[in-house]
C-alpha cells in the first residue's frame, strides 16, 4: 500500500507540475478563458453569477442583411441572490479571427440583443459574459452564424395586407368610375374658390403667386402642390393671367416648369408659356422667405397660393399676403402650420383635403376612383378602432382575460415594425 501510495503521490505531483504550464498554454490558446480567470471580486469573493445561455442565435429576419439576433435565458442569479446580475456583455468573434471582442452590453432583465454590425457572408460566434459588479461568468460559445438579406420583410406583413386592400379598393373604384358610374365627392370650400381667386387676379391685372412649400419632390405634399398647380396653371392660361412661382428646390423648379408648360399646351396657349414663370431663389429657408416677402410687397399679387409643406415661414407668408390684400388659399398637411393658415388665409385645405384637391379639381374618373378607394381605408380604420376600443372596454368591465387576450391579438396585427 505504501509503495502504491508513493506511486500515486508521485504521479499526482507530476500531473500537477504538468497542469501548471498546460493551463497557461491553454489560456494563451483560448483567450476566453482569461475572462473567467480574471473574474475575482474586489473583496476576495469568487462567487460568480450563474451564466446565461443562448436559446437563439440567428440571422435577423426580414432585414436587408448586416444583422444577427441573439436571445438567451436569464441567469438564475438575475434579480436575486448575493451575486445579482448587473449586465450581460456580448462578445463576438468572426471566422478567421483569433480573439473575441466585446460588442455591446445589455442591462439585467433583458434577453435579446441585435448585432447590427455584421458583414453578410461572414460567420460569427458569440458568448455572453454574465456580470455581477466586477465578476462574470461565460456562457457556451455559439455556433457560427451568417447574416444575409431577405427578399420579403415578414415583420411588415400587416402593412403589406392593408396596402393590398387599399390599393385593390383604389383600382376597383377607378374601374368603377371609368365604366361611367357616378362617384359623389363632397364640396371642398377652398377649391371652390380657386376659379374666383384667379378671376379676381385677371380683373385686377395683377399676377398670381404660387408657393409649393419648401420641401423637395420626395415629399408627398410637394407632389400634391404640383398636381394642383397643373389645374391652376390651366385656368391661368385660359384667363391669360400671369403666374409667378418662386421655388426653393431645383427638382421642384424643373417639375413645376414642366407642369405649367403642359397646362399651357392643354389650354391651347403654348406660345404664352415662359420658363421665367418659375424661378429658383435659394434652398435656405429664411433666405427664401425674405425674397418671397420682397416679391409680395413689390409685385402685390392679387392671389397667393401656398400649397405644399411649410414650416416656420407659413405665418410670415400669410401675414405678408394679408397685408397686401391678396386672396389667399393655403393647403398643407403640417399640423403645426395649419393653425396659422387657418387664422390668416381666406381658405385652407386641411390635411387630406390637400391630397383630395387634384381629384376634386380635375373630376377625372381615375382620380375620383382613387379618392373613393382611400375612403375605404378610413372605413377600415374606423371599424378597427371602434371594435378594439369596444373589446378593451368589455375586458375592463368584465375583467375577462379571454377578451383582453383577443383584443391584444387583434391589436398586434396593427403594430408597425
Amino acid at each position: 500500500m505504501k509503495i502504491c501510495f508513493n506511486k500515486v503521490a508521485a504521479l499526482g505531483m507530476v500531473l500537477l507540475l504538468l497542469a501548471v504550464p498546460y493551463s497557461w498554454l491553454a489560456a494563451q490558446a483560448e483567450p476566453d478563458t482569461l475572462i473567467q480567470d480574471t473574474t475575482v471580486t474586489i473583496t476576495g469573493q469568487e462567487h460568480l453569477p450563474r451564466p446565461a445561455q443562448f436559446t437563439f442565435v440567428h440571422d435577423s429576419e426580414g432585414d436587408a442583411g448586416g444583422s444577427i439576433t441573439l436571445k438567451w435565458t436569464l441567469s438564475p442569479d438575475d434579480g436575486a441572490g448575493e451575486n445579482n446580475v448587473t449586465s450581460y456583455n456580448i462578445f463576438r468573434k468572426a471566422s478567421g479571427e483569433s480573439e473575441f471582442e466585446k460588442i455591446g452590453t445589455v442591462a439585467s432583465g433583458l434577453t435579446e440583443y441585435e448585432d447590427a454590425t455584421t458583414t453578410d457572408g461572414v460567420a460569427y460566434s458569440y458568448y455572453i459574459l454574465t456580470s455581477s459588479d466586477s465578476v462574470g461568468s461565460k456562457s457556451d460559445i455559439s455556433a457560427g452564424v451568417v447574416s444575409s438579406a431577405q427578399w420579403f420583410n415578414s415583420k411588415d406583413l400587416d402593412t403589406f395586407i392593408i396596402g393590398i386592400i387599399i390599393c385593390f379598393s383604389v383600382i376597383f373604384f377607378i374601374f368603377w368610375a371609368q365604366k361611367g358610374k357616378k362617384l359623389y365627392l363632397r364640396k371642398i370650400a377652398g377649391l371652390e374658390a380657386v376659379d374666383e381667386a384667379i378671376g379676381r387676379a385677371t380683373e385686377m391685372g395683377r399676377p398670381i403667386l404660387y408657393i409649393p412649400g419648401i420641401l423637395d419632390m420626395d415629399d408627398v405634399q410637394t407632389v400634391a402642390g404640383i398636381t394642383i398647380l397643373g389645374r391652376v396653371a390651366k385656368t391661368i392660361a385660359e384667363y391669360d393671367t400671369k403666374i409667378n412661382m418662386p421655388v426653393s428646390r431645383s427638382i421642384v423648379l424643373t417639375t413645376a416648369r414642366e407642369t405649367i408648360r403642359q397646362a399651357y399646351v392643354a389650354a391651347g396657349r403654348p406660345d404664352a408659356y415662359s420658363d421665367d414663370m418659375v424661378h429658383y431663389l435659394t434652398d435656405e429657408q429664411f433666405g427664401y422667405v425674405a425674397a418671397v416677402d420682397g416679391i409680395m410687397v413689390r409685385e402685390k399679387p392679387a392671389t397667393c397660393f401656398y400649397i405644399g409643406a411649410f414650416f416656420a415661414e407659413s405665418l410670415i407668408f400669410a401675414e405678408t399676403g394679408h397685408s397686401i390684400g391678396a386672396i389667399q388659399i393655403a393647403g398643407t398637411a403640417m399640423p403645426a402650420q395649419l393653425p396659422f393658415f387657418v387664422a390668416a388665409c381666406d381658405y385652407t385645405l386641411i390635411g387630406e383635403e390637400l391630397f383630395a384637391a387634384s381629384a376634386y379639381l380635375s373630376g377625372e374618373p381615375k382620380q375620383l376612383g382613387s379618392l373613393k378607394g382611400q375612403d375605404v381605408g378610413k372605413i377600415i380604420a374606423m371599424v378597427v378602432i371602434v371594435l378594439l376600443c369596444a373589446l378593451f372596454t368589455v375586458a375592463s368591465l368584465t375583467e375577462s382575460e379571454a377578451v383582453l387576450s383577443l383584443a391584444n391579438t387583434i391589436r398586434g396585427w396593427f403594430s408597425a415594425s
Partner: protein, 247 residues
C-alpha cells in the same frame, strides 16, 4: 432735393456712422450681423433699400452656400464616393477603403438625363428622370405613411373607455380616452369625401371640424411660444453680443 430724399441721406449717414463706430467698438463680424438683423427687422415698417440689400445678400450667399453643400454633402459622398472612392479619397479620406458600387451608375445616368433639360432639343429626356423621382417617391412614401400615419395611429388610438386604477374607477383617464376616441372618429368622418355630410354623418363631421379647430387653437399658442424663442435669440444677440447690455 425733396424732403424724402434728404431724410434718406440722413438715415444713410447715421447708419454709416453707427456702422463705423460699432466696428471700432465691437469688431467687424458682430457689427455686420447686428446691422443685417436690423435691416431685416426694418421690413416691419415697410419695404426699403436696407431690407432689399439684406434680402439679396441673404439669397445670394445662401444659394451659393447650398450649391456648395449640395456638391460636398450629396455628390461627393453619395455619388463619387460610392461609384469610385479613390476619386474623392484626397478630399474625404474616410471613403478611401469603401468598395466601389457600380449600381451608382444608375443615379448618375438619371442625373445626366435631368440635366438634359438645359438643352432645348433634348429637354424632353429629363421627363424620364422626373418620372422616376416622382414614382419612387410615391412608392416609398406609401409604405412609410401606411406604417406611421395609418397602422401606428390605429394602434395608438385603441384603449379602454372604462379605465380603472388601484383605487377603482378612474374618471379622469376615462374622460380623456373618450375624448380622444370621439375626436379621432369624428375627425375621420370629416375627412370622408365620398359621402355627403348631412344627418348623423354631418353631425359627426361638424364635431370633427370643431375638434380640429380646438386642436389648432392649442397648437397655435404652442407654436407662437416657439417662435418667440427665436425672437428672444435675436434680441440676445443684439443686446448681449452687440450692445453688451445683457451679461
Amino acid at each position: 432735393m425733396n424732403a424724402g430724399k434728404l431724410l434718406s441721406y440722413i438715415i444713410l449717414a447715421i447708419v454709416v456712422i453707427a456702422f463705423v463706430v460699432s466696428i471700432a467698438l465691437k469688431g467687424f463680424l458682430v457689427t455686420v450681423g447686428a446691422f443685417l438683423t436690423l435691416f431685416i427687422f426694418s421690413f416691419l415698417y415697410k419695404d426699403n433699400p436696407y431690407y432689399k440689400f439684406a434680402e439679396h445678400l441673404f439669397v445670394g450667399a445662401s444659394a451659393a452656400y447650398w450649391m456648395s453643400m449640395g456638391f460636398w454633402k450629396t455628390m461627393v459622398p453619395n455619388l463619387f464616393g460610392k461609384l469610385y472612392p479613390p476619386m474623392v479619397a484626397w478630399a474625404v479620406p474616410a471613403l478611401k477603403n469603401n468598395p466601389a458600387q457600380p449600381l451608382m451608375l444608375i443615379p448618375l445616368v438619371l442625373g445626366i438625363l435631368l440635366l438634359m433639360r438645359l438643352s432645348s432639343k433634348a429637354g424632353w429626356i429629363s421627363r424620364w428622370a422626373l418620372a422616376f423621382i416622382v414614382g419612387t417617391t410615391a412608392g416609398l412614401n406609401l409604405v412609410r405613411y401606411l406604417r406611421s400615419d395609418f397602422i401606428q395611429q390605429i394602434n395608438n388610438t385603441v384603449f379602454s373607455l372604462y379605465v380603472t386604477n388601484a383605487s377603482g374607477f378612474d374618471l379622469g383617464a376615462t374622460i380623456s380616452n373618450v375624448i380622444i376616441f370621439g375626436g379621432v372618429i369624428c375627425g375621420l368622418i370629416y375627412f370622408f369625401f365620398s359621402k355627403e355630410h348631412k344627418g348623423a354623418f354631418g353631425a359627426g363631421a361638424r364635431t370633427g371640424i370643431i375638434v380640429l379647430m380646438i386642436t389648432f387653437g392649442a397648437s397655435f399658442g404652442y407654436t407662437v411660444m416657439a417662435r418667440i424663442s427665436l425672437l428672444v435669440g435675436r434680441m440676445q444677440f443684439l443686446f448681449g453680443d452687440w450692445l453688451g447690455m445683457i451679461r
